[in-house]
Symmetry: C2
Subunit: 146 residues, 2 copies
DNA sequence: AATGCAATTGCAAATCGTTTGCAACTGAGG
DNA sequence: CCTCAGTTGCAAACGATTTGCAATTGCATT
């Protein structure tokens, strides 16, 4: 849920430790990701980066996203329809509800569902490596129902 | 689960009722889908169709898949990595477990998970239109099951 | 601070899956 | 059979992402 109480992860330190160079484009992209509360796609990250450094290319955004994803620093989501969207991997695990009308992405978490998934996989003789749970819906009309 | 006890749906009748023409390419593709137990992608369907009618084009496969999807006759899945895969919509709702090593797709269903999803959406003020639950995992080594 | 070189970049071109414009063709009601 | 809107194959266009390559840059080393 992007708890604001969360310690902002020091990506630069982590990158250095991984023997990766801290370049100007990477620093800019890292800053953008750290300051982001939503789930931007590559083009959005590119545009935000461009306002800071005109010379950054879209290719570099993609390459950096792949690098960070490989390091486990970010998660890539492929919601239906649009391009891949990203978010920092720093928070706790959660799944997403997409508002079909507005495109809003709402985060949620259910321990019960997570447990059931494990149980199902186990029964089938499998061990889950990762999963994807996306709910697509629309706001309930506030029609005097209850 | 593609229950074999299921009545094979008469797509041709359904199509006619929808004012859609039964053409040779469509008949071929429909037959392939009806005879399919797995989740083929457009290229696979195209290749299977080609062995029956050399003149069918990949475009027509795509167009037909879109038509059938719009009619609710098939479901389109975008599992991570590969191209979209399809399956008849005739069976009961189910979700998928993808074997990361073999690519096998295993179907499962959990009423409990479905209920929890509804509950979560409701609490957030939403009504689910559809959802996507995919488990990616690998066979458990130690204890043999199945 | 100057040097050396592999890592990284921007750019353009390539790739992949899918869609689309268009002229030729065909299903099905008359 | 006629007719003609629906459908097709083909090629070209598409959007998202990746990649080859020559130029640039971070940074370990003097
Ligand atoms: Mn999220
Ligand atoms: Mn299935
Ligand atoms: Zn989850
Ligand atoms: Zn489900």
């Amino acid at each position: 849920m992007n708890h604001s109480a969360q310690t902002k992860p020091d990506y630069e330190r982590e990158l250095r430790r991984a023997g990766v160079r801290i370049t100007r484009p990477r620093r800019v992209i890292l800053d953008i990701l750290a300051a982001t509360e939503d789930h931007p796609d590559a083009m959005e990250i590119f545009q935000r980066a461009s306002t800071i450094d005109k010379s950054i290319s879209l290719s570099t955004v993609y390459r950096t996203m792949k690098l960070l994803e490989g390091m486990g620093a970010i998660h890539r989501h492929a919601f239906e329809g649009g391009p891949a969207r990203f978010e920092q991997a720093s928070g706790d695990h959660h799944d997403h509800l997409i508002d079909l009308d507005t495109g809003d992405v709402i985060e949620f978490h259910s321990n019960r569902i997570e447990e059931l998934q494990d149980e199902i996989a186990r029964e089938l003789g499998y061990e889950i490596v990762h999963h994807r749970l996306e709910l697509y819906g629309r706001r309930r009309k506030a029609s005097a129902r209850k």
